[in-house]
C-alpha cells in the first residue's frame, strides 16, 4: 500500500512526476541546492506544441506509490534524476552501479533517467553521454537547468510517441487491460474490461488540457470511478486556473497569454475575444464538456463513494477528499468541505507510523483552516502536537510539539499578550485555553527552555486566575515557584527562534490593586508656598473671574496632577489598596514604585497578604532625588519568583486620584521636643491644622508656666528662617491677658541652624480665666445687704467667715457648680512654627510644624461676688470681693501689699480693697478709633475690657497655695459689671468741698465755735457736655454712731447767708464754684450733707455723678 500524499491537489493530475535523489554520500546542503535549481524547471513549453508541460519533483517517493500509476499517471514516477559526488575516476564504476540500482527501484514506470555527477574531472567526464552529466563542482554547473529541460523534453517525446501509438491503433482490445493494484490479488469481478482501457494516457491527455477528449472518454468508460476523478481534475484545472493548492499557483502560470485566457475561461461558453483564434471550436467544446462547479463536487462525491468500496483504495480516497476540499475551499463551500474532511478523518489506512499520523493531523488542520474552521483546525493541530510526543515515540519531538501548539493559539482565540486580557472580564473558552496553556508550559519545559515555561505559566496564572479552582491555583503556583527557583521570571520580551515574541506577563492580579493614592507628606513636613504679595499667578491665568471653558480644560489638565508637593530628599508615600485573590497567603516581595520624570529612589517593601484578604492598604515609599514633576506610572513586584512591572494605565478597574506630583527642592526638617509631657489627647480635628505633637499641662487658674521648646534640625538643609505664631482654639472660656507669650529674638540669634544642631525657645503660658462665678454663689453672702450707694456704714474691712462645715453641704446639694474641684476647664492652642531654609527657601517654600498645647485649668479662687462701698473719700472706694477657695489646698489671697487672707479649701471669705477711683477717660479709647466696630455693644465690651485691665493691674490680686509657695495672679476683670464699674469710675463731675479753703474729703475739718467757717463747693466738669445750673442745699446733721441721725440742729448751726448754693451752667472742662459760710454754735462733730434740689437737669444725669463728699466738721472750743 502506498503512502498518501496530502499535499496533492487537483492540478497535480496534469503533471509528470520526476524523482530527484542523491546517490552515495551527498551533503544535504548540496543536494537541496541542486534540487532547488532542478525544481525551478517546473513548466516547459515543448517545441512544436503551444502547450506547457508541468513537472512535479519529489526527492522522496516510495516506489509503492506508483502502484496506482496506471490510473493516475501523476502517481507514476516517469523520470529519475540522481545526484552524486565523485572525486576520483576510481569511484566512478561504483557510482554508476548505484545509479543503475536506483533506476531499478522505479524501473517499471520509468521512461528516462539522468545522473548528475559533481566533482569528477578527467577523461570519464569527457565522454559525451546522454544520461550522465558531469560538473566540476556544485558552484560550477550553469547548465543544470538546460539539462533538465532536455530531459523533460525526452520524457515528452516518449509519452507523445505512446499517444500516437494508441491513436493510430484502432483495436483497443490489443492493449493490455489495466488493473488496480489490489485487483491483481483479488479480482472483484467488476467490468475491468471497460474501465481501464484508456486510463494510462487519459491522465496524460488531460494534462494537456484536452477536456473534450476526456468527455469522449467519459462516454466510453461510463461511471468508472478513477475517470470520474480525472474528469473533476480536468474541470478544476479549467475552472480555477489560479490553482487550488494555493502556494504553487503562481509558479504554474508564468506565461503571459494565460491570464487573458483565464479571464475568458471564467465565462464558460463565451467566445474568445481573439477573433482569429482558429481554435474557437475547441474552446466552445471545452466549455460544453467541462463540469460545472457544482458537478465537480458531485463527481468527486461519486468518485469517493466508489473508492470507499475498496479498502485498499484508502489512499486514493483520502487524496481525493483532500483534493475535493481544496476545490471547495475555493468555491467557499465550507459546509460541504467539512463533510469531505469529516469523511477523510474516518478513512482508515493501514497502521500509520507516528510521523504519518502527525502529518495527517497537520494536513487536516491545514485544510480546516483553509475552509475557515479555525477551531477544528486548532483541534487537529493540537492532536498533531500531542502525536509528536506520544509515549510510543522513542524520541519525543518537544520542539515540534511546542511549535504546533503555538500555532493552535489563534484557533482557541488566545494570544500570548496579557494586554489583550485587560479589557473587561475574560471572555473565552477557559477550559480549553487553560489546557492548551498547560500543554505549552509542559512542552516548553521539556524543550529545555525554562524561561519560556515560566512565561507561559505566569500567563496562565495571570489570565486564567478567575477560572482556576483553589486546588489548581495552589498547583500552578507551586510549579511556578519550582520553575522560578531555577529561572526567575523577568519583564523581558522572549523571542523564539522562529521570530515569535512573547510579551512579558506582569502579575497585575497578584495582588489585585484597587486603588492607588499618592499621599501628601505629613502635615508637619508639607511644604507651603509663601504668599507673594503680588499674586501674579492668579491674575495671569485669565482675565475673567469665571469662565466655564477655561475651567473645564484646566480641570482636565489638572485631573492627573495632584495639588500637593513632594519634597526632594524626603520620604514620599503612595498608598495602594490591594487584595489577595488566592486561597493562601501571598508573599509579595520587592514591591516598589515605578516612576518617571524625577530621579526616584524606590524603597521596596515585602508584604504578606492573608488568604483572600479584603482590601488591604499597602504603603510604598521612596525618596525623590531631584526636583521636577514626578509621575507614578506603576509598581513592580516579585511574586512566586516572577518580576512584574505593572503599569497603572493597563490595570483594569483601578481608581486613582492622579499620579503626577511636583517635587520641590529640599527643605530642612525641624523636630521639636518640649519640657512638657507629650499628651495622648489630640486636639479636635476642627482646628484645621494637623498637629504633629501634642503636649499637655495642668495649671491652676492664674498660674504661669514656662514651656521650653527644643528645636532640632534633623534634615539635611540648614534651617534659616523661623516664625512662630499661635492660635488659640475657640473656647467658651473668656481668657484674660496673654495666654502665650514668647521672645523669638534669642532663638533667632542661633540661626541658621545647621543639620543636627539644636536651639531652644521659651514660651510662657499664662492662664487667667474668668475668676467670677455663677449667680448661685452670689446668694451665699447676700445676707449682708450691702448697698452700693450709701454711706460708710461700717468698717471697710469686714470679714464674713463661713465655716467649712457649713459650706460643704451646700456644695453637695448643688452639684456641678463651678466651685467644685472637678470642674476643670481646658484651653487649647496651636503653636505654629513656620520654618524654611536651603534650596526650598529660595523657591519660596516653607514648612509648618504645629505644636498642640492642651492646658487643663483647674479652678483656684473664685470671686463669688463683687460690690463696692464708697470710701470716706469720694475719690476712693472699697471693692468688696467674696473669695472662694476652690482648690484642695490652703491658700492665701492678697492684693497689692495688703495683708494676706488665708483661705482653707472650700472656704469663702470677703476681702475689701481700698482703691482709688479710676479716671477711665484719661486713657485712650482705642475702640473708638476703630471705625469698623460699628456695633455699639461690641464697642462697649471693648471699653469694659480695657477698664477691667486697668483695674486689674491696679489691684494686683494674687493668691498662693501655701504649700507650693508660688504666687499666682488672679483677675477680677470678668466679674466687674457695669454697676460696679460705674462706682469705680471717677465721675465726670468732680465735686470738691473746701472748708476754710482746705479740701475736705475724709478727714474732719476743724473749726472753732463761733467763727464762721467758709464753705466752698467747687465743680469741675470733665464730661463732654455742659451741665447745670444746679441748686445745692447744705443739710447739717449729727451722727450719733448708733444709727440715729439728728437733723434738728437749728440751734447748733447757723448759716451765714443762704443755706442754698447756686451753681451756674458749667461748660465742658469748665469750673464753677459757689461760696457760703457756716457758724457752729456748739462744739461737736457735725456732718454736712450737701443735697441737690431735684429740678430738671439733674435728672438726666446718672446719680453717681452727683456724688459729693460728705463733710465732717469738728467744731472745737473757741480759743480763749
Amino acid at each position: 500500500m502506498s503512502v498518501p500524499d496530502y499535499m496533492q491537489c487537483a492540478e497535480d493530475h496534469q503533471t509528470l512526476l520526476v524523482v530527484v535523489q542523491p546517490v552515495g554520500i551527498v551533503s544535504e546542503e548540496n543536494f537541496f541546492r541542486i534540487y532547488k535549481r532542478i525544481s525551478s524547471v517546473s513548466q516547459i513549453s515543448v517545441r512544436d506544441s503551444q502547450r506547457a508541460l508541468y513537472i512535479r519533483y519529489r526527492h522522496h517517493y516510495p516506489p509503492e506509490n506508483s502502484e496506482w500509476g496506471d490510473f493516475q499517471t501523476h502517481r507514476k514516477v516517469v523520470g529519475l534524476i540522481t545526484i552524486t559526488d565523485c572525486f576520483s575516476a576510481k569511484d566512478w564504476p561504483q557510482i554508476f552501479e548505484k545509479f543503475h540500482v536506483q533506476k531499478e527501484i522505479y524501473g517499471s514506470t520509468l521512461y528516462d533517467s539522468r545522473l548528475f555527477v559533481f566533482g569528477l574531472q578527467g577523461e570519464i567526464a569527457e565522454q559525451p553521454r546522454t544520461d550522465v552529466a558531469f560538473y566540476p563542482s556544485y558552484e560550477d554547473c550553469a547548465t543544470v537547468e538546460k539539462r533538465i529541460e532536455d530531459f523533460v523534453e525526452s520524457l515528452f517525446i516518449v509519452l507523445e510517441s505512446k499517444r500516437l501509438d494508441r491513436a493510430t491503433d484502432k483495436s483497443g482490445d490489443k492493449i493490455p487491460l489495466l488493473c488496480v493494484p489490489f485487483e491483481k490479488k483479488d479480482f472483484v469481478g467488476l467490468d475491468t474490461d471497460r474501465r481501464s482501457k484508456w486510463e494510462g494516457s487519459l491522465q496524460w491527455w488531460r494534462g494537456k488540457g484536452a477536456v473534450h477528449w476526456v468527455s469522449d472518454f467519459l462516454k466510453l468508460s461510463g461511471t468508472d470511478f478513477a475517470a470520474l476523478e480525472g474528469l473533476c481534475s480536468a474541470s478544476v484545472i479549467y475552472h480555477y486556473p489560479g490553482g487550488t493548492g494555493g502556494k504553487a499557483g503562481a509558479r504554474r502560470f508564468p506565461g503571459s497569454a494565460l491570464p487573458a485566457e483565464a479571464a475568458n475561461r471564467h465565462r464558460p461558453g463565451a467566445l474568445t475575444t481573439n477573433g482569429i483564434n482558429a481554435d474557437t471550436s475547441t474552446e466552445i467544446g471545452r466549455a460544453k464538456n467541462c463540469l460545472s462547479p457544482e458537478d465537480i463536487i458531485e463527481k468527486y462525491k461519486e468518485a469517493i463513494s466508489y473508492y470507499s468500496k475498496y479498502k485498499n483504495a484508502g489512499v486514493i480516497e483520502l487524496e481525493a477528499c483532500v483534493k475535493a476540499v481544496r476545490v471547495l475551499a475555493i468555491q467557499k463551500r465550507s459546509m460541504e468541505a467539512s463533510e469531505f474532511l469529516q469523511n477523510a478523518v474516518y478513512i482508515n489506512l493501514r497502521q500509520l507510523s507516528e510521523e504519518e499520523k502527525i502529518q495527517r493531523y497537520s494536513i487536516l488542520s491545514e485544510l480546516y483552516e483553509l475552509i475557515g474552521f479555525h477551531r477544528k483546525s486548532a483541534f487537529f493541530k493540537r492532536v498533531a502536537a500531542m502525536q509528536c510526543v506520544a509515549p510510543s515515540i522513542s524520541e519525543p519531538g518537544w520542539r515540534a510539539c511546542y511549535k504546533l501548539l503555538l500555532e493552535t493559539l489563534p484557533g482557541y482565540s488566545l494570544s500570548l499578550d496579557p494586554q489583550d486580557f485587560n479589557k473587561g472580564t475574560h471572555r473565552g473558552w477557559a477550559a480549553v485555553q487553560m489546557r492548551l496553556l498547560h500543554e505549552l508550559v509542559y512542552a516548553s519545559r521539556r524543550m529545555g527552555n525554562p524561561a519560556l515555561s515560566v512565561r507561559h505559566l505566569s500567563f496562565l496564572l495571570q489570565t486564567m486566575l478567575d477560572f482556576l479552582s483553589d486546588q489548581e491555583k495552589k498547583d500552578v503556583t507551586q510549579s511556578l515557584e519550582n520553575y522560578t527557583s531555577k529561572c526567575p521570571g523577568t519583564m523581558e520580551l522572549l523571542t523564539l527562534p522562529d521570530g515569535l515574541t512573547l510579551p512579558p506577563v506582569p502579575f497585575t492580579k497578584l495582588p489585585i490593586v484597587r486603588r492607588v493614592k499618592l499621599l501628601d507628606l505629613p502635615a508637619s513636613l508639607r511644604p507651603q508656598k509663601m504668599k507673594s504679595s503680588l499674586g501674579p499667578s492668579v491674575s495671569a491665568k485669565s482675565p475673567f473671574i469665571y469662565s466655564p471653558i477655561i475651567a473645564h480644560s484646566r480641570g482636565e489638565e489638572r485631573s492627573k496632577k495632584i495639588d500637593f508637593q513632594w519634597v526632594q530628599g524626603d520620604v514620599c508615600e503612595v498608598q495602594l489598596m490591594v487584595y489577595n485573590p488566592m486561597p493562601f497567603e501571598l508573599r509579595v516581595e520587592n514591591m516598589g514604585l515605578l516612576t518617571s520624570g524625577v530621579e526616584f529612589e524606590s524603597l521596596p517593601a515585602a508584604l504578606s497578604l492573608p488568604a483572600e484578604s479584603g482590601l488591604y492598604p499597602v504603603t510604598l515609599v521612596g525618596v525623590p532625588q531631584t526636583t521636577g514633576t514626578i509621575t507614578v506610572s506603576g509598581y513592580h513586584t516579585t511574586v512566586f519568583g516572577v518580576f512584574s512591572d505593572c503599569l497603572l494605565d493597563s490595570l483594569p478597574g483601578i481608581k486613582t486620584s492622579g499620579s503626577t506630583v511636583e517635587v520641590i527642592p529640599a527643605l530642612p526638617r525641624l523636630q521639636i521636643s518640649t519640657s512638657l509631657p507629650r499628651s495622648a489627647h489630640s486636639l479636635q480635628p476642627s482646628s484645621g491644622d494637623e498637629i504633629s505633637t501634642n503636649v499637655s499641662v495642668q495649671l491652676y487658674n492664674g498660674e504661669t508656666q514656662q514651656l521650653v521648646v527644643r528645636l532640632e534640625n534633623i534634615g539635611m538643609e540648614p534651617l534659616e528662617k523661623l516664625e512662630v505664631t499661635s492660635k488659640i482654639l475657640t473656647t467658651k472660656e473668656k481668657l484674660y491677658g496673654d495666654f502665650l507669650s514668647w521672645k523669638l529674638e534669642d532663638t533667632l540669634a542661633q540661626f541658621p541652624l545647621q543639620p543636627g544642631k539644636v536651639a531652644t525657645f521659651t514660651i510662657s503660658i499664662k492662664v487667667k480665666l474668668d475668676f467670677s462665678c455663677q449667680e448661685n454663689l452670689l446668694q451665699d453672702l447676700s445676707d449682708d445687704g450691702i448697698s452700693v450707694s450709701g454711706f460708710p456704714l461700717c468698717s471697710p474691712f469686714r470679714q464674713v467667715v463661713r465655716p467649712r462645715v457649713e459650706s460643704k453641704p451646700v456644695n453637695a446639694a448643688e452639684g456641678g457648680r463651678p466651685g467644685e474641684p472637678c470642674h476643670v476647664k481646658t484651653l487649647e492652642a496651636v503653636l505654629n512654627f513656620k520654618y524654611s531654609g536651603g534650596p526650598g527657601h529660595v523657591e519660596g517654600y516653607y514648612r509648618n510644624l504645629a505644636l498642640g498645647l492642651h492646658v487643663e485649668v483647674e479652678p483656684s479662687v473664685f470671686f463669688t461676688r463683687v460690690s463696692t462701698l464708697p470710701a470716706t473719700s469720694t475719690r476712693q472706694c472699697h471693692l468688696l470681693l467674696d473669695v472662694f477657695n476652690a482648690t484642695e489646698h490652703e491658700l492665701s489671697v492678697g492684693a497689692r501689699s495688703d495683708e494676706e487672707l488665708i483661705l482653707h479649701a472650700g472656704e469663702c471669705q470677703r476681702m475689701a480693697i481700698q482703691v482709688d477711683k479710676f479716671n477711665f477717660e484719661s486713657f485712650p479709647e482705642s475702640p473708638a478709633d476703630k471705625g469698623q466696630f460699628a456695633n455699639s455693644k461690641h464697642l462697649e465690651e471693648e471699653r469694659q475690657e480695657a477698664r477691667g485691665l486697668e483695674i486689674n493691674s491696679k489691684l494686683d490680686i494674687h493668691w498662693t497655695i501655701i504649700s507650693f509657695s508660688q504666687t499666682r495672679g488672679a483677675s477680677v476683670e470678668g466679674l466687674l459689671n457695669q454697676l460696679v464699674l460705674e462706682h469705680l469710675q471717677l465721675a465726670p463731675l468732680l465735686w470738691d468741698v473746701l472748708v476754710d479753703g482746705q479740701p475736705c474729703d475724709c478727714q474732719a475739718a476743724a473749726c472753732r465755735v463761733g467763727d464762721p467757717v467758709r464753705l466752698e463747693v467747687r465743680l469741675t466738669n470733665r464730661s463732654p457736655r455742659s451741665v447745670g445750673p444746679f441748686a445745692l442745699s447744705v443739710v447739717p446733721f449729727q451722727d450719733h454712731q448708733n444709727g440715729v441721725h439728728s437733723y434738728d440742729l437749728r440751734h447748733a448751726v447757723s448759716f451765714v447767708g443762704s443755706g442754698t448754693f447756686y451753681l451756674d451752667k458749667v461748660q465742658p472742662s469748665g469750673q464753677a464754684a459757689c461760696l457760703g459760710a457756716l457758724l457752729f454754735l456748739y462744739t461737736g462733730d457735725f456732718f454736712l450733707h450737701i443735697r441737690f434740689h431735684e429740678d430738671g437737669p439733674s435728672k438726666e444725669l446718672p446719680p453717681s455723678w452727683f456724688c459729693l463728699p460728705s463733710v465732717h466738721v469738728r467744731a472745737l472750743e473757741a480759743q480763749a
Partner: protein
Amino acid sequence: MAVCVAVIAKENYPLYIRSIPTENELKFHYMVHTSLDVVDEKISAMGKALVDQRELYLGLLYPTEDYKVYGYVTNSKVKFVMVVDSSNTALRDNEIRSMFRKLHNSYTDVMCNPFYNPGDRIQSRR
C-alpha cells in the same frame, strides 16, 4: 438523553456546559468548541434575509464516531449545543428539537432572574 449540553454566549464562550460522564469533561469541551465552527458557518450561510422567520434549530452539526452534535441558536445569537450518543437511535430530529425547546425555555428563565448578570456563567444547582 443528551450526554452533553452547552450554552454558549454570543461571543463564543461557554455560559454553561455539563456532560453526563463527568470524568472526561474536557473531551466534550473540545467537541463543543470545535462545533462552533459549524455553527458559525451555518449562521452565516443562512444569511440575513431570513432573520425574521429563521429556524432556530440548526440540525446536526457534525457526527463523530460515537456522538452526534446538534446545534440551536437563539435570536440573540446564544448558541445551544447538544451532544447525543450516536448509538441512541431513539432520538430523532423531533426529540432533539423538543429538547432544545426545553433548553431554550430554561435559558429564558435564567435570563429572567434579576440576580443573574447576563454574560456570567450560569450556575445550576443540579
